[in-house]
């Protein structure tokens, strides 16, 4: 078992053993339960993450299988609250506890889609073709509408015909990169979910 963490690791087996010992002298079912639980996740890789829903910021542990074998796509087998977090202390709400269904979900988008003007359905498109088309559209728009100077002759270097909006689970680093992207293009109309 490996633990993906910047700050050390722990063994789940140690944790389970300690819990089992603590109740070994009573008529507790805990050792039996622990054994079942150990089987379910004993071979998983565990990764520290944070719930993407509300802003309480509950830490979660994502259990994945299949990442040690070649030619196999790893998959999430379990997501649980991180008992070390001072915020959630291992707990999650009804949404957080079903996060696995969000990640492993047949409705997830897995390839780029394109809809031509006037078309009534999406069609598949390769990444290369999509990037080529998008760069061309952005350049055409920018060449047509970029303003170096305003009506008073002051340097403004701006593009007001394009807006950029960011979502609520964009990380700080992505938001920062979106800022650089925005200023490279000259976009003024830039907003994100925090506005609403």
């Amino acid at each position: 078992m490996k633990f993906n963490s910047a700050a050390g690791s722990f063994s789940r087996r140690d944790f389970v053993r300690a819990a089992a010992l603590a109740t070994a002298y009573g008529f507790s079912l805990e050792p039996a339960r622990a054994a079942v639980r150990e089987l379910k996740i004993s071979r998983t890789t565990q990764t520290h993450s944070v719930c993407p829903y509300c802003a309480v910021g509950c830490s979660v542990i994502i259990h994945t299988l299949g990442d040690k074998a070649r030619n196999i796509q790893p998959t999430v087998v379990h997501i649980e609250g991180d008992p070390e977090s001072p915020v959630n202390r291992g707990t999650l709400c009804s949404k957080g506890i079903s996060l696995k269904e969000f990640v492993v979900n047949e409705r997830r988008l897995t390839r780029p889609l394109y809809r031509a003007p006037g078309a009534s359905e999406w069609t598949a498109i390769s990444w290369d073709e999509a990037f080529e088309k998008m760069a061309r559209r952005m350049k055409d728009t920018r060449d047509r509408t970029f303003e170096e100077k305003d009506s008073q002759g002051r340097t403004v270097n701006r593009l007001t015909s394009v807006a950029l909006i960011g979502g609520c689970t964009d990380t700080n680093e992505i938001n920062y990169l979106l800022g650089k992207f925005r200023f490279a293009l000259g976009i003024l109309s830039y907003e994100n979910q925090s506005r609403l």
């Binding site: 963490s5 700050a7 890789t45 990764t47 520290h48 993450s49 944070v50 829903y53 802003a55 910021g57 994502i62 796509q73 977090s85 915020v87 009804s94 949404k95 079903s98 969000f102 990640v103 979900n105 409705r107 988008l109 897995t110 780029p112 394109y114 809809r115 006037g118 009534s120 999406w122 061309r136 952005m138 350049k139 920018r142 060449d143 509408t145 305003d150 002051r154 394009v162 807006a163 950029l164 909006i165 979502g167 609520c168 689970t169 964009d170 990380t171 700080n172 992505i174 920062y176 990169l177 979106l178 800022g179 650089k180 992207f181 200023f183 000259g186 976009i187 907003e191 994100n192 506005r195």
Partner: protein, 793 residues
């Protein structure tokens, strides 16, 4: 939040207003329950609905949506009339003693300086009275008639318990019961906290509402205290972080976007670097030149030199009175003035106001790029007529919509590393657990490829605006796929000569020798490594600060304004709740919101403000120095305080085809929108368990109104506003009590969000109903308190 989730358990009184944490922040709500259990804390809940939070409160007050300022103004009045403020705190830590120039006043709904033709204020009469050295004159006794304290007393003299009850719709007794509990914290050894959410921000007067809360907490001495503060619960995983990183009018770290009249970097710095208003004000924003030049070095790298103003001319500039924010660019889009929209994980058709306007606006674009985990209403807006059933029969068919659309599959949270900032300002690092499915890519790959492809087109072909594009640095080990570790290190910043990571923002320089992507994140990734990934669970103060868990901006400070937790000599107001201690030479405990070795008397406690103290009176807001009650843009009554100026005179109003406002004679009921615990926003309609637990859209109708209309539980009803309609089964409830306002009965209707025309479960978009009305400072739409009619479908 000024404080944090774990700190809520330090409170004696908890006011939940404009939020419903038991339902929407259930894990955070445990700290409320802990405070009740351990400290016998009292929970006061003020809400239009008897929510799950109300159900476990000690005191519930029903209210009419959009009257929060009246309620808070009433509390301010109650505290001043009954002499319940914390006097020493108010004198030492607020601008109560400051004098305002002669001529300031308020009458009939307007502050002085109102200019009807401009639709705005000349703010000159709101300014402080200065002495010859440029410092504000003060009266430490607070007795001067032009002192902020006396002006505050005068302004809120109208907010009597009777006036409050008449506007809010509760009884006077209900108001007084809540007031007594809340005001009981105006003592050194008692603290009260406030938890709010979108019930406070989604109004046409939202920013002033939150200022009213700040005034209340300052009078009671609750700012800077453990168990105190003004705390936004925030509804999404990283909207705090995205705010920190900029908005249309902001650069990272709350630096302002340059205006066109700031022709040079010097002009910009002069306009945006404040001057201290009192001799003891540290005025930390005086470091603006260091923050700005270091940011320009991060943006333009080698291309930023002292000779070329560090690339300042490359930044886009806004006109002095222009607004390019959400409300305005969607309005311009609806008039065909935009060509393209790029959305990284946002769904404006579902979550923006006035869905018909959103759809019409997108149909005017030449191209649309959406980067998403799932298909959304925005990506597939051109299918709205088909998928949206009867709701969009007036909308164009796909054949008529000429927008070219790209829907790009993106990694979800589990497949990405990087940091999220929770409501407590804790910046928590997460690691990618697995690769994205199929051909999906990470955000950084998509952004980089878009930018690099565009750069290479300009290099080959030239074109307009090539210089700002080509000079933006993208100096990563693999520019097509930057590691977020690299990006996070850039955000923290470094010394350019030694390449050492910065330890703190105090190391920043204005000569171009440091670079830093966001000065408030200085210290998040130092030479000691990634501080955001720390997992220490120690709590040395016992106050729930957890200084070694993740990292908190700024400077790993857990309670903002914590210097105000102690008196003039540095003695804590409450020895059991002291985040800071002064030992005669330095402060210990939390990271001080103060100079670490400065004596208690030497500086004002509010180091970010030019006043050096907190502002009860703030001349820098659009609508006036004191929050005033204005009715929502659509209201069942005229403002009882000033009928002629009923709504916020500064709230943006649009006059397009889709911007209809309704009147009470046609739309007699007040509507509010809200979340349910089983769902997250517009995402979990793609997830099986949430969809199974809450399958159907519904409308919450008060029992008395249902009886009047002959509606029984489960009957299908139609709710209509001036913009559109929704339909669903009625949930007839006792939870929304009819209110008495201005001598008549006002009914309120509750409508949950979460459904749309794309998903495992589908239902009407609640924003079919909501108006394009916004707060003038923050640009937040008015989702709480708009008018509707109700009928059996």
């Amino acid at each position: 939040m000024t404080n944090g989730w774990t700190d809520v358990s330090n409170a004696d009184v908890i006011l939940v207003m404009g939020g419903n944490p038991a339902e929407n922040h259930p894990v955070g709500f445990r700290f409320v329950m802990e405070a009740r259990r351990r400290r016998k804390a009292k929970l006061v809940c003020v809400d239009p609905r008897f929510t799950r939070t109300a159900a476990v409160s000690d005191c519930y007050v029903p209210m009419r949506a959009g009257t929060d300022i009246a309620f808070l103004g009433g509390l301010i009045h109650y505290i001043l009339e009954n002499k319940l403020w914390l006097d020493e705190y108010v004198k030492q830590h607020t601008n109560a003693p400051f004098l305002v120039k002669e001529g300031f006043g308020f009458s009939e709904g307007h502050f002085t300086g109102w200019d009807e033709s401009q639709g705005g204020y000349d703010r000159s009469s709101w300014q402080y009275e200065l002495d010859t050295s440029g410092h504000v004159r003060v009266d430490p006794t607070l007795e001067h008639p032009r002192s902020v304290f006396q002006l505050l007393r005068q302004h809120y003299s109208r907010y009597t318990p009777d006036a409050v009850a008449n506007i809010v719709g509760c009884t006077k007794e209900e108001f007084l019961r809540a007031a007594a509990l809340i005001a009981s914290t105006g003592k050194p050894d008692r603290t009260g906290t406030i938890l709010y959410a979108l019930g406070w921000t989604q109004h046409s007067h939202a920013v002033q509402l939150i200022r009213a809360a700040a005034i209340l907490q300052l009078l009671l001495g609750n700012i800077g205290m453990p168990g105190g503060g003004v705390n936004a619960q925030r509804g999404h995983a990283n909207i705090q972080g995205s705010t920190d990183m900029g908005a249309w009018n902001m650069l990272p770290g709350y630096l302002k976007l340059p205006r066109a009249n700031q022709l040079t970097l010097q002009d910009y710095l002069k306009a945006n670097t404040p001057r201290a208003l009192r001799p003891n004000a540290w005025n930390y924003w005086s470091n603006t030149p260091k923050f700005m030049v270091s940011l320009l070095k991060a943006y333009y790298g080698q291309n930023a030199t002292a000779q070329n103003e560090f690339g300042y001319q490359n930044l886009p500039k806004t006109g002095e009175n222009e607004n390019w924010g959400w409300a305005y660019f969607f309005d311009r889009m609806s008039r065909g003035e935009l060509e393209g929209l790029i959305s990284f994980g946002m769904n404006p058709v579902a979550n923006g106001p006035n869905t018909a306007k959103m759809l019409a606006a997108l149909a005017k674009l030449k191209w649309l790029i959406v980067v998403e985990n799932f298909e959304t209403e925005t990506a597939s807006f051109w299918k709205a007529r088909k998928l949206g059933d009867k709701f969009y029969t007036g909308f164009a068919s796909p054949a008529q919509i000429q927008t070219e659309c790209f829907l790009l599959p993106a990694a979800c949270f589990a497949e990405k590393d990087g940091s999220f900032v929770n409501s407590s300002r804790w910046v928590q690092w997460k690691r990618a657990a697995l690769p994205p499915p199929g051909d999906a890519k990470t955000d950084q790959e998509i952004i980089s490829r878009l930018l690099l492809d565009l750069k290479s087109l300009y290099q080959k072909e030239g074109g307009r605006g090539a210089k700002p594009l080509l000079e933006m640095s993208w100096d990563y080990a693999n520019p097509a796929h930057p590691s977020l570790d690299e990006v996070a290190r850039e955000i923290n910043g470094r010394h350019l000569s030694s390449r050492q990571q910065l330890k703190a923002s105090s190391e920043l320089q204005e000569d171009g020798s440091t670079m830093c992507g966001n000065w408030i994140y200085c210290g998040s990734w130092t030479e000691e490594g990634n501080q955001m990934a720390r997992r220490g669970q120690e709590d040395p103060t016992g106050l729930g600060l957890y200084p070694n868990w993740a990292w908190s901006w700024p400077a790993n400070r857990r309670i903002l304004y914590n210097r105000a937790s102690a008196d003039r000599e540095g003695k804590p107001w409450d020895a059991r709740r002291a985040p800071l201690r002064w030992d005669g030479s330095q402060w210990s405990g939390d990271t001080p919101d103060y100079k670490g070795d400065a004596s208690p008397e030497s500086l004002g406690a509010f180091i970010m403000l030019p006043e050096g103290v907190a502002k009860l009176y703030a001349a820098d807001f659009l609508e006036g120095p004191f929050p005033e009650h204005y009715e929502p843009a659509e209201s069942p009554v005229k403002n009882p305080l000033h009928q002629e100026v009923s709504t916020n005179p500064l709230a943006p109003v649009f006059h397009g085809e889709f911007d209809r406002l309704g009147e009470a004679k046609d739309f007699p009921y007040v509507a509010i929108t809200y979340r349910l615990t089983e769902h997250f926003h517009y995402w979990t309609k793609h997830v099986a368990s949430g969809s199974e637990l809450q399958t159907n859209f519904f409308v919450e109708v008060p029992e008395e109104l249902a009886r009047e209309k002959g509606i029984r539980a489960g009957d299908r009803v139609r709710v209509r506003s001036a913009r559109g309609f929704v339909e669903g089964p009625a949930l007839v409830t006792k939870r929304i009590r009819p209110l008495r306002v201005e001598g008549r009965t006002v009914y309120q209707i509750g409508i949950p969000i979460h459904w749309g025309f794309v998903g495992r479960v589908r239902g009407p978009l609640v924003n079919n109903l909501t108006p394009s009305v916004f707060d003038p400072n923050s640009g937040t739409p008015e989702y709480k308190g708009f008018l509707v009619n109700l009928e059996k479908a």
